[in-house]
Amino acid sequence: MRKNILLWAGAVAVAAAVVGCATAPTDVEVSRRAAAVLKDSFNAKGQAGLDRLDQDETQRLCTQYANKPLPKDVAEMIEKLNLASIKWPADGKWLGDWKNGEKIAQEGRGKQFSDDPKGPVGGNCYACHQLAPQEVSFGTIGPSLYQFGKLRGYTDEIRKYAYGKVWNADAYSACSNMPRFGHSQILSEQQIRDLVALLMDPESPVNK
């Protein structure tokens, strides 16, 4: 760890020499340094390897623009990139079982180093969204999805949108706070169908 600090001091010196008069490292250099220090500050544990700190293009860009407005062209690029990655159901069936969907929406476990790799993996939707009105313990990071289908209409267009959004939220809204559940292999195709049913089945409590 001492080594890191020394390296960092070296990087500052190099940066200063290159720029000539600058005494502070540039924003990009600090970001790069932060990523390197982060990587040295974790141990692999359980199912969480150090490769989880390797960013893909979307993560890298979203980190880079985290504290400033996302330029329109960058946003469009991210959305295009992610839309192309969505695997649509081959049989055109959007809806699974809303009862399973409710369980997936409640389940918060999965992918943590403390989770059994063979154990359940959920979407944890209630952490951020209101869904069925019976559940009063819901978060507000994302919008309320209560009456999702009822308000938008039970159409194929909306079913497809719901499926795509759960599969890869960044395809519709660059740098969304929502995980890319299908793209990042958090949830299976069937689990995503079940969640779409929770949102779009007229019998689902979400639409009551």
């Binding site: 409640q106 389940e107 918060g108 476990r109 943590q112 959920g122 944890n124 209630y126 009063v136 313990s137």
Partner: protein
């Protein structure tokens, strides 16, 4: 209403929980339960029926003289649920806390000697949302009040 609770409340030909407690004979009058040796039978029971069999005794009547204080309707975490019970019934001798849906229903019994106020507060564990009963023995008779406490899922869920 939760179907399981309805069953519990109505077991035994439509009897309510309270009359069941009464029929089973809750605690023996004129004994100070908590002062005796630990009542393994009462604390070890897995169901309501067993709990009742393990305890002998009097007839609990629903009472407005028993109030829950500093006891929330919703617990943010079931591992620690604050429960306060105050009895306004004269000559209160003991206060017990029972949690219907816990693996063991009887949670704690407090004996209140003369000179001690019939008011206790403690914290309990609840495995899930449940009715909580405060049972008071006063002048050798038994009184009960209940309250439903919801246990919510919190945090990131993992």
């Amino acid at each position: 209403m939760n179907p399981r609770r309805r069953n519990l409340l109505q077991t035994g030909g439509g009897m309510t929980l309270l009359t069941m407690l009464a029929a089973a004979g809750w605690l023996q009058p004129h004994t100070a339960l908590a002062a005796d040796a630990w009542n393994a039978a009462a604390f070890d029971t897995k169901s309501m029926d067993e709990t009742m069999k393990a305890l002998g005794g009097g007839i609990p009547a629903q009472s407005k003289g028993i109030t829950f204080v500093q006891t929330p309707d919703i617990a943010e975490n079931g591992a620690v649920v604050p429960i306060g019970v105050v009895s306004a019934i004269p000559n209160t001798q003991s206060i017990a806390i029972l949690i219907e849906k816990n693996p063991n229903m009887l949670t704690a019994v407090f004996d209140i000697p003369p000179g001690t106020e019939p008011s206790i507060s403690t914290r309990v564990k609840m495995g899930q949302s449940s009715n909580v009963y405060a049972l008071v023995k006063a002048d050798g008779r038994y009184y009960v009040a209940s309250k439903e406490i919801k246990v919510t899922l919190g945090g990131c869920g993992g």
